[in-house]
């Protein structure tokens, strides 16, 4: 006769649980300890700031518990994940609630410390020791079956992923495969054990739990405990500073390797390159495979689509940038010429236009901008008429912040001296660095899509509408980076008919010309371009419109129809007044 609610089969579980809890506490302290001082301060402050605190609560429930983002991305996967994770969560919660109503089979009543210890495993194995009320019995069975239904979908997904709308799934190593097998079998074992009370199944159930808990810190399932911390850190507004420390480490642990980014990545158009996607990058970082992590960070085009589709919002692009910053590339840059550039200004315009080097190579855009600004009667000046200074973004992309700074400072001086109140850029590559790295207080920075939209809306220019069917391509650094989706569409709509691309807005596919990648070959880029053009041609448009000179150049090579910048189509249809 048992004096206590105990059986040796609970031991594996208890051991596993103790291990994982210890590991998580140590990991938490390590991550917080690795944060730079100012970041840590920011973090503590964010926890008590009402705005971020509210965002924390919202996302902890929305993302960790209800998996809203996966539901949005793919309802089948949403159900699969919720069934397992939410179902398991409910079983744990209900189990603990139920503790008070359980009637122990042996009639034992344990009190005090022993009771507390017992409670640690009691709800997990209660069926062996007690009976529950019918309501609880129903709830527990319901959620258990829900979990098993989720596991069934997972098994189908593993065998034939296309059926759930996923082309490529992440390829796993031994440890990940093993822990997944453990996870899949935990609940069927529990069901059998509960229904039959055969000892062997209780043992199997408990050992399965132990395997899962003990392997968890070293596999993708670490995302379960880490995601909560990651949400808090993210809302504190941190940026990864080092590729494998602090905030980045929290992200590495939070990546569930679900592989949604694999299908999304433009590079996956070539199967060979699907191993360069963010899911694998995060895995390489986790496994401390620095060589490979460095290579993938250099291959990435920084289009940000993986971040847009990520159900956990892992900022893999930022981590890749921090990886680049950590690599001492030798670039012989000579910025001595900057001193010789005069900052004297003759006239003081209200609008300053900075074409940037890519637009200098696509003079049609500059011409159109000139025509538009003339028609609007703007008092403007071209900042880089005679060739200006680079905006600094290419250096930034190479992880060379100090070198970029030299150019940024000179440009800032030039812009501020001009006295202009507005800076217009036609290159999203420039726009990103101007928005993020420049300190131009009091000067409004606009991309030309926003600027032209404003001119049309306030009646400064009049555009004659024509019948042409346009499709608009969202440049990565304008769309995904800044959410500028509506302004360009308004402009295109003012000029003609607009048809949808197959993938739009945050799902738009990189043109393949990106400055971001160091080592994609021309052929690999061409494949990406062809795929992106195909996607844009989905509704048979007459012309492709984009808002980035680099996209324009890249598409022009592969497109069956004319490719134009948004400024060009406006310039063509503008009425001179």
């Amino acid at each position: 006769m048992n004096q206590y609610i105990f059986h040796p089969f609970v031991l594996p579980f208890v051991l596993g649980m103790a291990f994982v809890l210890t590991y998580c506490v140590v990991g938490l302290l390590r991550i917080i300890g690795q944060l730079p001082k100012d970041d840590r301060k920011k973090f503590w402050r964010s926890l008590v700031t009402p705005k971020t605190a509210w965002a924390n609560i919202r996302d902890l429930f929305g993302d960790c518990l209800f998996h809203v983002k996966i539901w949005k991305r793919n309802p089948v996967l949403g159900y699969m994940h919720s069934a397992i994770a939410f179902g398991w969560f409910m079983i744990i919660v209900i189990g603990h609630v139920m503790l008070f109503t359980l009637k122990p089979l042996e009639g034992v009543d344990v009190q005090g410390f022993a009771r507390t210890f017992t409670n640690f495993y009691y709800p997990i194995f209660y069926k062996h020791f007690a009976t529950e009320t019918p309501t609880f019995a129903f709830l527990m069975d319901f959620f258990l079956l829900m979990i098993i239904s989720g596991i069934l979908i997972a098994v189908v997904k593993k065998i034939y992923s296309k059926i759930v709308g996923v082309k490529r799934i992440t390829k796993f190593g031994f440890a990940d495969n093993m822990i997944r097998f453990a996870l899949w079998t935990i609940f069927p074992f529990r069901l059998i054990a509960e229904k039959s009370n055969i000892m062997a199944f209780w043992w199997l159930y408990s050992i399965d739990l132990m395997i899962f808990m003990c392997m968890l810190p070293f596999t993708r399932y670490m995302h379960i405990p880490t995601e909560a911390l990651f949400i808090l850190l993210r809302h504190a507004g941190l940026k990864p500073r080092e590729p494998r420390k602090g905030y980045a480490l929290a992200q590495i642990y939070s990546c569930p390797s679900c592989g949604l980014c694999i299908d999304a990545c433009p590079m996956s158009v070539n199967d060979k390159n699907s191993g360069n996607t963010s899911a694998y990058f995060m895995k390489k970082l986790r496994n401390a495979n620095d060589e490979e992590a460095k290579r993938i960070a250099e291959t990435c085009m920084q289009c940000g689509k993986c971040v847009a589709v990520c159900p956990v919002s892992i900022e893999s692009c930022d981590i890749k940038m921090s990886q680049r910053e950590a690599t001492p590339y030798t670039i012989n840059s000579d910025h001595s010429y900057l001193d010789s550039i005069s900052t004297e200004v003759e006239k003081s315009p209200s609008v300053l236009y900075f074409a940037g080097c890519m637009t200098q190579l696509t003079p049609k855009i500059m011409r159109s901008m000139k025509k538009i600004m003339d028609a609007a009667g703007e008092n403007y000046e071209f900042l880089d008429k005679d060739g200006g200074i680079c905006c600094g973004r290419p250096m930034m992309l190479s992880g060379k912040k100090a070198e970029a700074r030299a150019m940024i400072e000179k440009n800032t001086e030039l812009i501020k001296k001009s006295g202009a109140k507005k800076l217009v850029l036609s290159c999203p590559i420039c726009y990103k660095v101007f928005k993020e790295e420049y300190n131009l207080e009091g000067i409004e920075i606009q991309h030309h899509t926003q600027y032209i939209e404003e001119l049309i809306k306030c009646g400064k220019i009049y555009v004659e509408r024509r019948d042409t069917k346009y499709v608009y391509h969202d440049p990565c650094e304008l769309g995904r980076a800044f959410g500028i989706y509506d302004e360009p569409r308004y402009v295109v709509h003012s000029v003609g008919q607009i048809v949808d691309a197959k993938s739009e807005k945050e799902l738009s596919i990189c043109c393949g010309g990106s400055l971001g990648s160091f080592n994609l070959t021309q052929q690999e880029r061409d494949e990406i371009t062809a795929n992106s053009v195909n996607d844009l041609m989905f509704n048979n448009p007459d012309e492709i419109v984009t808002a980035c000179p680099l996209c324009l150049k890249t598409f022009s090579k592969k497109s069956p129809v004319k490719v134009k910048d948004i400024a060009e189509i406006v310039g063509e249809q503008i009425e001179n007044c």
């Binding site: 200098q360 190579l361 696509t362 003079p363 049609k364 011409r367 060739g387 021309q522 061409d526 150049k553 022009s556 090579k557």
Partner: protein
């Protein structure tokens, strides 16, 4: 009965092949999509390296084909293989039964608009090498008004990964130097610059032309690519380039800029090529059987290739290939 040989394309390769086939006792039929024979060479004024009038060569070739069946303003719209050879349907609904087909479809000139940074079609005073030949022939072009500074850009659309053409277009180097000298002849006071990557003077007398260009005509050859072109207030062209021998960037104002456009395989033949099963190489030109002993054979039985449809070639090379294809076809017919 004489055996029909269908020749698609009435340029230098097509005409010369027809001439030789006729001499060999076969019956060549030339199908030419434009309204006259001669192809690109008929639009040229003078030929390198000796400034020989293109007209002389073209007229002689035209004279050679005057008894040959030529269908102008006609395209092959459909071609089917049968037990007897080929049956081709033309755009005027005629049909031709032929024992063998020679593809002598030549090249398209690279569309200079595709290198937007050079400003063709945007700035007035940017023109192509072909347009400059027209100026030499007619003496008229609105863009050329007693220029003081003239620039030539080599390799436009050639050896350029960014436009997808990695090959060398072979003849533009020599053409550029020839045209530079000719500009200097017309405008002796003008300064003439050429911007090259390498000068590939591969043929007899070509290197001499290069020396002459510098010594006698005082043309300045700068090694480096032009990276961008813009227009100043007066409509003159401002170019940016790098002098790679000095390792210095340079900026220059020019009155007229001539783009040496590369050759690309003519696109209009794509459909027929597909019907015949003749594939392209990675550079977009037609594939021949092998580069040494099978340069005129396609991989398809009875289908032959000649001239610039397989790679950029000079006029002498093209004529040589046209003659060799005639022998190949003659042997093919006799061994059937």
């Amino acid at each position: 009965m004489k055996e029909n040989i269908l020749i698609i394309g009435g340029g230098a390769a097509g005409m010369e092949a027809a001439t030789q086939l006729k001499k060999l006792g076969l019956n060549p039929i030339i199908v030419e999509k434009s309204d006259k024979l001669g192809g690109h060479i008929a639009q040229w004024d003078r030929l390198f390296p000796a400034f020989h009038p293109a007209k002389d060569v073209v007229e002689q070739m035209l004279n050679n084909v005057k008894d040959i069946d030529v269908r102008l303003n006609t395209e092959v719209t459909d071609i089917q293989r049968n037990s007897d050879g080929f049956k081709a349907t033309l755009s005027n609904n005629d049909t031709i039964d032929a024992k063998a087909v020679i593809l002598a479809t030549g090249f398209d000139l690279f569309k200079a608009e595709r290198k937007q940074e050079y400003g063709y079609g945007i700035y007035n005073n940017v023109m192509t090498s072909l347009e400059l030949e027209r100026f030499f022939r007619t003496g008229k072009d609105d863009r050329i008004n007693n220029p003081k500074k003239i620039g030539f850009v080599h390799c436009v659309g050639a050896r350029d990964v960014k436009v997808g053409n990695t090959y060398c277009s072979k003849v533009c180097c020599t053409t550029a130097l020839k045209q530079a000298c000719e500009m200097k002849e017309v405008f002796p006071d003008a300064e003439v610059y050429t911007f090259y990557m390498d000068l590939r003077m591969f043929g007899p007398g070509y290197e001499d032309l290069y020396l002459k260009t510098q010594k006698d005509f005082d043309v300045k050859c700068i090694r480096g690519r032009v990276c961008e072109v813009s227009e100043d207030m007066d409509g003159r062209l401002v170019i940016k380039a790098e002098d790679t021998l000095f390792g210095k960037p340079l900026k220059m104002t020019l009155d007229v800029l001539i783009l040496m456009c590369s050759m690309e395989k003519a696109k209009s033949i794509d459909k027929i090529q597909q019907q015949l099963g003749v594939a392209n190489n990675s550079d977009g030109f037609m594939q021949n059987k092998d580069m040494y002993l099978g340069m005129n054979d396609s991989k398809q039985d009875g289908v032959f290739v000649a001239g610039t449809c397989t790679a950029p070639k000079s006029l002498p090379d093209t004529i040589g290939e046209a003659r060799s294809v005639a022998v190949e076809v003659f042997n093919y017919i006799n061994n059937r």
